[in-house]
Symmetry: C2
Subunit: 229 residues, 2 copies
């Protein structure tokens, strides 16, 4: 029973690429794709507390609840709200999960997005040629059953690019104890933003490696890029 | 993150007791209780294919999907049908899960029950003083997305007793290679059917041990007894 998908889904509208590099003995990152009906693709990236066998179980539990909820509810905000409540009933108080959840509606050509305490969505808007971090505050999952989540919807236009990533990237340190941070991530995306998703991922990765130098990778590195064709 | 509950829920209407004894190095049994709203208790007993870490992950996945579905759907048949489809989208073709799922409606004083390839529900009906195996055929989960499940509903009357169990009990062998079978299970229940749930469990267990003698326990033994007060 594999926890992580082996391939990215292929559609005529979206070019999707991903990268996952767990740190030694630490693996709390979960990413996944799933088809919702005939014309929607869900993409999730999450970071669960703990590591090892306990993190693997928590990830699997999150996967199960998320898949079920995503089938039942259209709204990404509702999916996270239900996941938050169900998870809170099951897992210990000291465990939590950050998650970014995206649903690409291929027919409507729209993206719905919600965020539970995870790093913001990076969005490159092709018409304005601007890159932004889409902040959408919501608490990590399972902290409180009263947590409220929000949702944003964007139209999908040719050339738009979306990147989800874990803080193993933005909070990676170099040998001088500086952090990679959002600005370098944005730059690494913008440098190759007209290239395929795979190339964008590769460029972020090489910028990160160049920055880190010989510094040790302390956390998992995971990212998914989605480009509108 | 514990997979199995540490205690049984307590209510004024139901006396619930459980027993779980995994065989060496094999643990594919999953049982769980959960509150559904203010006045319903879900009880599940399942047997997943495989063992070890793989079975633990599959159990956790099942737990996640089941908890989510049980919150959303009233009908036990619908909960299993949705679980079947979602599970089939995620897990490999050679994995499957048998499951018996019960919802006790404390306000309505009724039990709803569905079965996916698991051993039938044992029901002792206090008014008629009869014990029966409630057959309710439905395929194991994840075998086919076209699988259909059924549901039965029973009123809850004082003195009624329900037992769910795994085939580690009915298919346990003694030293003469005979199986314990349903008849001995029914007898062990009937002998103490006016006693508390805990005593019923204990009596089934001692009848099983006496029957097995020195034969090795080949499979997990799990059972839950629910008595109406």
């Amino acid at each position: 029973l594999g926890l992580l998908p082996k391939t990215s889904p292929q559609t005529a509208l979206l070019d999707i690429a991903s990268y996952f590099n767990p740190a030694d003995e630490v693996s709390g990152d979960y990413y996944d794709y799933f088809l919702l009906g005939q014309d929607k693709i869900g993409i999730v990236l999450a970071d669960v507390s703990g590591h090892g066998a306990s993190a693997a179980l928590l990830m699997t539990l999150v996967k199960g609840i998320l898949h079920a909820n995503a089938q039942h509810f259209q709204s990404t905000e509702r999916v996270l709200a239900e996941l938050n409540v169900t998870l809170g009933q099951i897992i210990p108080k000291d465990m939590f999960v950050t998650m970014i959840f995206l649903v690409f509606d291929l027919q409507k050509r729209a993206l719905r997005y919600s965020n539970a305490g995870h790093s913001p969505l990076l969005m490159y808007h092709s018409q304005s040629q601007k890159t932004q971090m889409v902040e959408l505050r919501g608490p990590a999952l399972s902290l409180s059953k009263l947590s409220v989540y929000r949702e944003k919807e964007f139209p999908l236009n040719q050339g738009d690019l979306f990147l989800v990533y874990t803080d193993g990237i933005t909070e990676a340190f170099n040998e001088q104890a500086q952090m990679f941070e959002e600005a370098r991530l944005i730059q690494a995306v913008e440098d190759v933003v007209s290239e395929p998703a795979k190339k964008v991922i590769a460029n972020v990765n090489s910028a990160l490696r160049a920055f880190m130098g010989k510094a040790r990778q302390a956390d998992d590195v995971a990212m998914i890029a989605v480009k509108v064709l």
